[in-house]
């Protein structure tokens, strides 16, 4: 019998950590399966609908495309406004002396539990990561480091972590190496299950053993390539001490994929910075935000829900939804606007890089599985305010729908009536003006890329020796690839992911390869 007394009431439900329809029975199973089908059907219906409208009602399709192009320009302005604002906040936060700012608080009792799940990444990656923590402006004795290895990665992985423990173990308050067993029933191999195991181990071996209260632990789950900025822990303490409900909050930094930015190709850089910008936008739109990648939360909150899920792909966002639903909607994402550095996705070859970026974004966009989870539990947990349930479901649903459909509609289907429309349509001024109008509106929208280019340069690490200044020009010009990257690395992998979910071909966790130039 699994002990559940420490769990929040809603987290005790047997379906609380449902991942797929086939884990349920009866009506619930059918409903969850229906939800899995909805995103794919919505996306495909939109795309096919525009094609059909272009053939049979080209005038209406043309008016819709004009409306959509205007919407896109305004959306670009709206999002650029958020990026620019967050950029100011981010730069400001990077200049602040957070160590001095938290002196007014009594924070000595708090520990930072930092979990680094890893698979087969090389020692150079792990070394750079631990160096980031060692360089942090925070008392290292108040830091608990956990390197979470995978048994399926072989003894070498654990040996790497042990070597780091031997080298740096004394520098920290506690240093733990865990090895997630292979083939635990009900789990899928990946970061989520590894972290789940690591949390349970650190509770037993460190927190309980040293009688450290769970409420005094701030847990940061970091991807293994995460290199923290020196004031991260101070900044986290500041936000933890100042937010209204610290135990009902997740703390989200801004991931800058800059560790290897100078070594990465233009495509990798654009995708990396685009991801950063999206997270910067989310920092200013907390009503739409969920946790992403590396983030922090109190151990107490995690313990109250039995940690995160070990059976999902997008575990980094799912943990927020677990917490939000278990807490009856009373859980928020706090945007720290403080950076952490991570790796841009690369590979040793150009095509390998493309494949890796595609797979990574397909995994990210498979986060649409969270929408099914949210809506399913919104129908069960009536304690969450109805308005919140509706707004979150619609906002998240619109996000996944627009991610897949908008780039395709804008850059491909915008021309569909011209090629597919009727003869009557082709003879009209509208038919000739449509591509000119759409093109001009897209050019206006592309001015947003200038903002992106300028901001991205300001976030780029200093130029290392051996790299030409010419690279700065390339870094500016690389943004013209955005229309292509939006289709190839956002819309298509998103459509791929939603289609897989629609047909019940569930995805597993794909580990993004990490490497370092030696």
């Amino acid at each position: 019998m699994i002990e559940k007394s420490h769990l929040l009431p809603y987290a005790r439900r047997s379906d609380f950590k449902v991942a797929r329809a086939n884990e349920l029975t009866g009506k619930d199973r059918r409903f969850f399966r229906f939800l899995e089908i909805v995103p794919g059907v919505a996306a495909w219906s939109t795309i096919i609908g525009i094609v059909l409208a272009s053939i049979y009602t080209p005038f209406i399709a043309a008016y819709f495309i004009i409306a959509f192009s205007i919407y896109w320009v305004l959306k670009t302005i709206f999002l650029s406004y958020h990026v620019r604002y967050n950029w100011r906040r981010l730069k400001h936060h990077m200049e602040l002396d957070w160590g001095a700012m938290i002196q007014r608080f009594s924070y000595d009792k708090y520990y930072h539990l930092v979990i680094f799940p890893f698979y087969k990444e090389p020692i150079e990656v792990l070394e750079q990561t631990i160096k980031g923590v060692l360089d942090a402006k925070y008392d290292a004795q108040k830091i608990i480091i956990v390197f979470a290895a995978e048994a399926r990665a072989g003894a070498e992985a654990e040996a790497l972590a042990r070597s780091l423990e031997e080298k740096h173990g004394d520098s920290f308050g506690h240093f733990l190496v865990t090895t997630h067993p292979d083939s635990i029933v009900g789990e899928i191999a990946g970061k989520g299950s590894n972290v789940h195991w690591a949390l349970s181990q650190v509770r037993e071996q460190v927190l309980d053993a040293h009688e450290i209260p769970y409420k005094n632990i701030l847990t940061s789950v970091f991807d293994i390539d995460t290199v923290i900025y020196p004031d991260y822990f101070n900044c986290l303490i500041w936000f933890f001490m100042t937010v209204e409900n610290p135990y009902k909050s997740c703390f989200q930094p801004v991931p800058l994929f800059t560790n290897n930015l100078w070594e990465a190709g233009a495509l990798s850089r654009v995708m990396a910075m685009s991801s950063t910008f999206w997270q910067m936008i989310m920092q200013e739109r907390p009503e739409k935000a969920a946790t992403f990648s590396s983030h922090s939360v109190s151990f107490q909150a995690l313990y109250e829900i039995g940690y995160g899920q070990a059976n999902v792909v997008s575990e980094d966002s799912r943990i927020f939804w677990n917490l939000m639903i278990a807490n009856d909607g009373n859980f928020e994402v706090v945007s720290m606007s403080y950076p952490i550095a991570m790796d841009a996705t690369t590979a040793s070859t150009f095509w390998g890089t493309i494949a890796n970026i595609y797979r990574q974004h397909r995994r990210w966009t498979y986060g649409v599985e969270n929408w099914c989870y949210i809506v399913y539990h919104f129908t069960k947990n009536k304690s969450i305010p109805l308005k919140k349930r509706w707004s979150v479901a619609l906002l998240q649903g619109e996000g996944y729908w627009s991610l897949v459909t908008n780039p395709i509609m804008l850059f491909i289907l915008g021309w569909a009536p011209i090629f597919l429309g009727t003869r009557e349509f082709h003879e009209t001024v509208l038919s000739y003006e449509l591509p000119i109008m759409v093109r001009n509106l897209l050019i206006v929208a592309m001015f947003g890329l200038v903002v992106s280019a300028v901001i991205s340069l300001s976030l780029t690490p200093p130029r290392p020796d051996g790299h030409s200044r010419f690279r700065y020009i390339v870094m500016m010009l690389q943004w013209i690839m955005v229309p292509m990257t939006m289709i190839v690395f956002s819309a298509i992998p998103g459509l791929d992911a939603q289609t897989r979910l629609m047909f019940g071909r569930y995805m597993g966790f794909w580990v993004t390869p990490k490497s370092r130039t030696k």
Binding site: A62, Y63, I66, A67, I70, Y71, L74, I77, F78, Y81, H82, Y85, N86, R88, R89, H92, H93, L96, D97, A100, M101, R104, Q283, E284, R285, P286, S335, S337, R423, E424, E427, T428, V429, L430, S431, Y432, E433, L434, I436, M437
Partner: protein
């Protein structure tokens, strides 16, 4: 040092205000742009601001170097490497379109433009001086054409230019020369195919069925009195009947070329807009059972057009290379190219002058025999 960050999260009120400003912009912009893209414009003429409806004209050309004029005003050239002009903001009326370039023949048409509709037109401009590629029996080791007489310069190249250098041999010795295999091929073409010494009209008189050198998909159709020779390209057919040359559309009404159709929605008469001959042709077609009109929502389409042969006899005809809209005709005083589009009139341009010439189009290459010499006519134009 401050104890608080000076920049807080973007206030919801600011976001909300910004959002609603954008919504207002959207609501204002959308109808404005829809009106604009459908042809509505604000007019500030006559000191009174009013809304007028406009149409457009879409002109494709076969030459990137040409200049296009609408009502004597030059139209701005399209972007690099594009040969299509979309002219906006044209009032509903008759408009004169001229396509010209130094060294090329001028193409002119007067066509109606209607509100919210784009009038499509395709221009062609042949070189003023024909360009010939010599095909001689002998050539040098480096492939240069060799003539044994200097009269070629006086006879042919006085009115045409050669695209390739050629060589005048001062002797008739051929030991240092080699036989040109292309010459043998072209000679065999003219040798095995009956030459164009009889006109369509004279053949009509003799009621001789065999005519011309049509080498692409010739179709022989028998009538009660004459045998009509037909040439097909795609769904467009050329044929001569009773001394006249015709182009006939055999395909579906959906794919019919735009120039065979005229708008039936305008209040102005067909003869005013497209010419008397078009109005008559439409009326004839309306009565006809063999070449009926194709009528749909707002247009009337003829399936057959009579080609302008400049009141001369036609000795040879064929589709112009790589085109189903242009027709090559050998008339009494030379080889001409005419367009099937007879709206307003058919532009007919001289390709090569001469009376003692024979013509064959083989694999979209125009070969001529002028007297005793063979040439390829290099058109240097690519048509749609």
């Amino acid at each position: 040092m401050t104890n608080e960050p000076q920049i807080q999260i973007l206030p919801p009120k600011h976001r909300s205000i910004f959002f609603w400003i954008l919504v207002v912009i959207f609501l204002i912009t959308l109808p404005s742009l829809i009106f604009y893209t459908t042809g509505y414009r604000l007019s500030f003429e006559n000191e009174v601001t009013s809304i007028v409806t406009t149409g457009g004209m879409y002109v494709t050309t076969d030459n990137l170097e040409v200049d296009v004029y609408l009502n004597n005003e030059q139209v701005e050239r399209p972007r690099l490497f594009r040969s299509a002009y979309y002219i906006q903001n044209i009032t509903a009326d008759q408009h004169r379109i001229v396509v010209q370039s130094p060294g090329y023949q001028t193409w002119v048409k007067v066509l109606p433009v209607e509100s919210r509709v784009v009038t499509e037109v395709s221009a062609f401009n042949l070189p003023e001086q024909a360009q010939l590629r010599p095909i001689t029996q002998y050539e040098t080791a480096t492939g240069t054409a060799v003539y044994f007489s200097t009269t070629i310069a006086e006879k042919v190249f006085a009115q045409a230019t050669s695209t390739e250098p050629f060589y005048h041999s001062t002797t008739t010795a051929t030991t240092s020369l080699r036989i040109n295999s292309e010459f043998l091929f072209v000679e065999s073409l003219f040798g095995t195919t009956s030459t164009s010494t009889q006109s369509v009209f004279s053949k009509l008189l003799e009621e001789v069925g065999k005519f011309g050198f049509a080498t692409t998909t010739p179709v022989i159709a028998s009538s009660s009195t004459t045998t009509i020779e037909r040439t097909l390209r795609g769904d467009m057919e050329l044929f001569d009947d009773e001394g006249e040359l015709y182009a006939k559309w055999l395909g579906s009404s959906a794919a019919i070329p735009y120039y065979l159709c005229i708008s039936s929605s305008s209040v102005a008469s067909t003869s005013q807009r497209y010419g008397e001959h078009v109005a008559e042709a439409v009326e004839v077609a309306r009565q006809s059972t063999s070449t009926p009109l194709l009528i749909d929502n707002n247009r009337v389409c003829r399936t057959q057009v009579k080609l302008d042969r400049l009141r001369q006899d036609v000795f040879y005809y064929h589709f112009f290379p790589n085109s189903s809209d242009l027709v090559l005709m050998q008339l009494q005083d030379g080889i001409y190219v005419t367009e099937i589009d007879d709206r307003a009139w058919q532009n007919t341009q001289l390709l090569y002058p001469g009376t003692d010439i024979h013509t064959i189009v083989e694999n979209d290459v125009i070969y001529i025999k002028d007297g005793e010499y063979y040439f390829q006519i290099v058109t240097q134009i690519e048509t749609n």
